[in-house]
């Protein structure tokens, strides 16, 4: 079974090719093909999971792709526990989202193309996950970026969507550049792209004493790699693209910007965790942890003041990704991955639920909604489950994973534990703010006529809701924490479950829920007074800490200014040089022209005249008729033979 793992990405790829090729002529206008491809991949992934649970050995397969000079470039796949988990998340969540899209995208003019892009995305993601070397991982990484660009800009007629896709592409490209540098750094010093060999060499102490510009090389390499993850996983300071990416269709937001693609950064850090772990004094991990922590808190605060339901979820995603990074950074390898998995399920659920709501209301603004729980019971209940999971309420999935991260933080870095706790509180707060605005009370919009979504959309919601509710149990301590047994990092001690801390985290979540209820449901405290109390902080948060404006000033204006300066240089200095050369050339050419007309041409004309005169004399010899010549030849032959005879 594991030997066939390379087939998994080929299913979506086949679907992609088929849909691009045949388009609307396929069953379900291509949608069924895409779903079938994904479902096959999911079935195979589940098979692999059972194999791995049956303690199969991880495998590492390679084929030579080409040789550049003496450097072999290889294609290969690696299937181990981490891969298995990611495969499962990508394919299962992906299948649900594909199915959901059949209903959500119904009637779209570019319906088949949407599924083609989705399939291509799934292929790229699976390639990334299965890669056994940095090069292939990078290829998948960039393909994922491309798909993200295509899908965010799916409604390219909308200028905002086109701009958002461009922004996402360029922003992540900054991170990718760092990551590429990191890959090259590793390759130059170790001469291989393969994880297995890199890890073995690092484990044996290679790179330990090398430095780059005074910094320890291993740390630099790890931080550079992390730069890629910062871009892809929308960490501070490259997080600004993710909220804008909500311009894409909602299933895309769910698939790419919640469940899978943004998790690629986290996955990459986990995949190369050895490098981070081996960096001197685990400096790289500190960087990861602090970036993650800052991101988590900052995004959570922004999430509190957003009114667009998808943007709330987007900031929540950023915040949760920060939490995962923080978890990885505070040596919570298992915790981070666990949160990645649970988050994928419930965030996909939330996005799809939000999509269902938007589908019904035709607006994104939660302040226009309200009272939807009666109209859309399925959506309401599943959304509530997702919210509870995200807020970390017992026994839903988020509780177990978030609790583990907090536990790790508490043991390794108390400051970050405080950040994490505050984030948890804010998370519960803003999520229930959404719930209260959207589903309870009375409907505030008078133009919309909400209705429950079709079965093809609600059924995936229920499946994901079931996962969101119970998937956390694989990490439950009273079941022996099987997830930890499955995925763990050699060299990190497991920290035992702490009931007090668990209760504390539950209390924090409860506090968040209650305060949200107090403000938005019971309206004990008016929200306007809260805004006034926050004062300048509120302004700061509403403007998302002025990141976009900062980038506008520093990068966009800066680039434009440099462009202006270069243009001036070009116009006034280079053009002047060119003009001077041109003038000199014209002068020289005039001189030469005189020489040419009077001396060279004179000589040529003389020759021509002489030849003409001679030809005029000689042309009477040439009749131009072959038969005359032939006669002369025949006569010549006769004379020659006659001479030969007479001699």
């Amino acid at each position: 079974m594991l030997n066939l793992a390379w087939l998994i990405p080929l299913f979506p790829l086949t679907a992609f090719v088929l849909i691009i090729w045949r388009g609307r002529r396929l069953p379900g206008e291509g949608a069924y093909v895409a779903v079938a491809g994904m479902a096959l991949a999911a079935v195979m992934s589940i098979g692999i999971l059972f194999n791995m649970l049956g303690h199969a050995q991880p495998i590492d397969m390679n084929v030579r792709w080409m040789t550049l000079g003496t450097i072999p470039l290889e294609l290969g796949i690696r299937v181990d526990q981490l891969t298995t988990m990611m495969l499962l998340v990508v394919t299962v969540v992906g299948s649900m989202i594909f199915t959901y899209s059949i209903g959500y995208m119904h009637g779209d003019p570019r319906y088949p193309r949407f599924f083609a892009y989705l399939s291509l995305f799934a292929f790229s993601m699976l390639l990334l996950v299965l890669a056994n070397n940095l090069l292939m991982l990078y290829a998948g990484w960039e393909l994922v970026g491309l798909c993200s660009y295509l899908l965010i800009g799916f409604y390219f007629e909308k200028p905002s969507a086109a701009r958002a896709s461009m922004k996402a592409f360029l922003t992540t490209r900054v991170g990718d550049f760092f990551m590429f540098l990191g890959i090259l750094l590793i390759f130059i010093h170790l001469g291989t792209f393969r994880f297995e060999e890199i890890f073995a060499k690092v484990h044996d102490g290679a790179l330990k004493d090398l430095t780059v510009g005074g910094w320890p090389l291993l740390t630099v390499a790890a931080v550079l790699l992390f730069g890629g993850a910062v871009g892809k996983s929308a960490q501070v300071p490259l997080h600004t693209w993710l909220p804008d990416a909500m311009e894409g269709p909602t299933p895309v937001s769910a698939l790419i910007h919640a469940a899978t693609m943004v998790a690629a950064g986290v996955y990459m850090v986990a995949r190369t965790y050895t490098l981070f772990f081996a960096s001197g004094g685990q400096e790289a991990l500190h960087v990861v942890a602090w970036i993650g922590g800052i991101t988590a808190l900052m995004a959570a605060t922004i999430g509190v003041v957003q009114d667009d339901i998808k943007r709330v979820l987007a900031y929540s995603t950023i915040s949760q990704l920060g939490l995962m990074m923080m978890g990885l950074g505070v040596l919570g390898y298992t915790a981070g991955m666990f949160h990645l998995m649970t988050h994928a399920f419930f965030k996909a659920l939330l996005f799809l639920g939000a999509g269902s709501v938007i589908h019904a209301m035709h607006t994104n603004d939660i302040k226009d909604m309200g009272g939807l729980s009666k109209v859309m019971p399925s959506t309401y209940w599943t959304f509530l489950i997702g919210t509870l999971a995200l807020a970390g309420v017992f026994p839903f999935a988020g509780f177990w994973s978030k609790d583990e991260i907090l536990l790790e933080a508490f043991h390794h870095n108390t400051a970050l534990f405080a950040v994490g706790a505050l984030t948890s509180f804010l998370t519960a707060f803003y999520m229930f703010r959404v719930i209260f605005y959207t589903f309870t009370g009375t409907q505030r919009s008078h133009t919309a006529h909400p209705h429950e979504s079709p079965d093809v959309m609600t059924r995936p919601l229920w499946v994901l809701a079931i996962f969101s509710a119970f998937i956390g149990l694989v990490g439950a301590p009273f079941l022996g924490n099987p997830f930890h047994a499955f995925i763990h990092f050699e060299g990190i001690e497991a920290i035992p479950f702490d009931v007090t801390l668990a209760l504390g985290s539950l209390a924090i979540a409860g506090a968040g829920i209650l305060s949200a209820a107090a403000v938005y449901h019971w309206k004990v405290i008016p929200s306007a007074s809260l805004r006034r109390a926050a004062g300048p902080l509120h302004t700061l948060v509403v403007n998302k800490y002025y990141f976009d404006e900062l980038y506008q000033v520093v990068f966009v204006r800066g680039t434009l200014w440099i462009g202006q300066a270069l243009r001036a240089f070009d116009v006034y200095i280079i053009d002047m040089l060119v003009n001077m050369v041109g003038l000199a050339g014209v002068g020289l050419a005039n001189l030469y022209g005189w020489f040419d007309t009077h001396i060279v041409d004179g000589a040529v004309n003389l020759v021509g005249y002489v030849v003409g005169a001679t030809g005029g004399l000689l042309r009477y010899w040439q009749t131009g008729r072959a038969q005359n010549y032939l006669l002369v030849i025949a006569l010549g032959v006769i004379i020659l033979v006659a001479v030969g005879l007479l001699r």
Partner: protein, 163 residues
Amino acid sequence: MGEQAAFIILSIITLASAVVVVNSNNVVRAALALVPTFLGVTGLYIMLQAEFVAGIQVLIYAGAITVLILFVIMLTEGGTGLRIRQRNEQAPLGLLTAAALAAILISVLTRTEWPKSTATLPQYTASAIGNTFLTNSVLAFEVSSLVLLISLMGAIIIARREK
């Protein structure tokens, strides 16, 4: 005796019709007179035991080239050239030259001692010719097939009406 008779008859057929070819003012008749000329030469080939060459001679010369010539005559002037001068102004000189060349060549031929061989030709020459073509004379074979191809293309390109 019979051999001499056959040779004389064939030679007369060949040369007489060749004279018609050369002399007739009607181009179509000249072209049709090529047929007996070629058939006479074919007869000579058969007397020389070159049956295969004889067959090819009939197939290519009498069957194809003559028809091609007739075809072109009909596509160009047809038989309309009867009242047009068919010879150029150097006709007497040309006749003299040709006759002189014939005389000189015949005198040379009759004086030369040819290194005759007493060996005989193989009974069945077609397969022997095939073998020679693919062994000793393979270069000639290849070159002539190349020339054929190129002249085929050339003829098509030259004769095609320009658009």
